[in-house]
Amino acid sequence: MSAPTTTRAARIYVIFAREFRAYFATPLAAVFLVIFLFLAGLFTFNIGSLYERNQADLRPFFQFVPWLFLLILPAISMRLWAEERRTGTIELLVTLPFALADLVVGKFLAAWAFATVAIALTLPLWGTLAWLGDPDHGTLCTGYLATILLAGFMLSVGSLISAWTKNQVIAFVLSVALLFIIMLLGYPAALDVVASFAPRGVIEALASTSALTHFDGLMRGVVDLRDVLYFTLGISIFLWLNVAVIDWKKSD
């Protein structure tokens, strides 16, 4: 008898569930969450001076979170494929009745869900604001939406890099480097350097490719469909590249 047929959603779920549980199989998940929350708190209260500003918003948190992500999300995505190739389990996965896209999407969603858990643990910040003042809940909503989208975008880059190498440490370092460049393009200080010799059009084009530019818009409470599209399209493109890289790297 041959095995039962499976739908694409069911196949993605099987991969997602294994991968998501794998994050909690070691104490690493707890350590990660604690470090994330500690740094988020440090940035928001001490460096961002949430109380001293006397404004009921989370601007300090949202302004620092991309830089926190830069160092922390590659740690979530680095093992996705590198570990699979190191242990040889990729051969098992590919020869089970899955399409490569099922594997890539399932793994990515697991990493994204884990990051979302971490982000959700910062929700007490919102509660603090609501208790102390009268925050604009709409803006906070889009701020969190932007944070989750940014996390997905950065994880899709990290997953792609992870598919490139068998070594998790290399995957981590390369992901941080690439994400740093992508973010820097939207940072005024970095753009000023370019502005000294490049025409205005180039600056605007560069800025519009940066995740930071699109994140800022959403963070301020302006829901521009183009910003949302930027993140979802970016994720799709990086996942598509991810499938291509795995297909290509299999023969190594």
């Binding site: 041959s2 095995a3 794998a22 242990t87 389990t89 051969e91 020869t95 899955f98 023969s251």
Partner: protein
Amino acid sequence: MAKDTGTTTHVAAGELLVATGLQKRFGTTYAVRGIDLRVKAGEVLGFLGPNGAGKSTSMRMVTGYLEPTAGTITLCGVNLLTHPIEAKRTFGYLPEGAPAYPEMTVEEFLAFVAAARGYSGSEARDRVEGVIERVHLQGVRRKSFETLSKGYKRRTGLAQALMHDPRILILDEPTDGLDPNQKHEVRELIRDLGKDRAVVLSTHILEEVEAVCTRAMVINHGSVVFDGTPAEMESKAPAHITKNRMDHVFRMLTTGDRATLHAKHAKGARR
């Protein structure tokens, strides 16, 4: 291009695994240069050859891990290259080195494979129990894979391959790293499974071929240099060789002048 999707391969009655004109090129070198593989139900094919001869590459193509540079692959009548997911349901595969997730327990790992094979609920549990019993993993079921001995790792890989009771079994060195008792046990199991299935196994142990295989295929430099029964293979050895006759034939076939050997085996090779 790689996919020869237009042609339909002729599959004779009883043939479960059919691969024709299989080729694989890495860069400019050919790892596999035109192998034909036809395995019927009830056949246990021993896939032999020196390291780097193209055994694992061939198995990786037949199981859909690597895409062939040329050739067709039909598994239980399903074209692997055009319908990969359907074709992958027809076989169980033990990859080289029996990989599994280090941090998962045997039970968790097998449950994952059951889910991947589309089983859920009580049926998934029954399947996992079934394979645990079949390859005797009861004692280590709650141990994590990385802590297992080589023998148990190999058996976990075998259990995983048997999950859906497949008609085709492809096993890359299934007895590697096992002690003599475990080897005997796994060989018994393979012989039993081979009664109504198509089994392809690769091995370096020639006595294993005599013990479990109904047919032996030797490949060297990516080409088939012998295809026949183990007895036929043994009979190739000169009469004055009395010990390790299989090893002698293996060396004859895989070292020295390939051209004359090709000529010698070209006729009576295929049964």
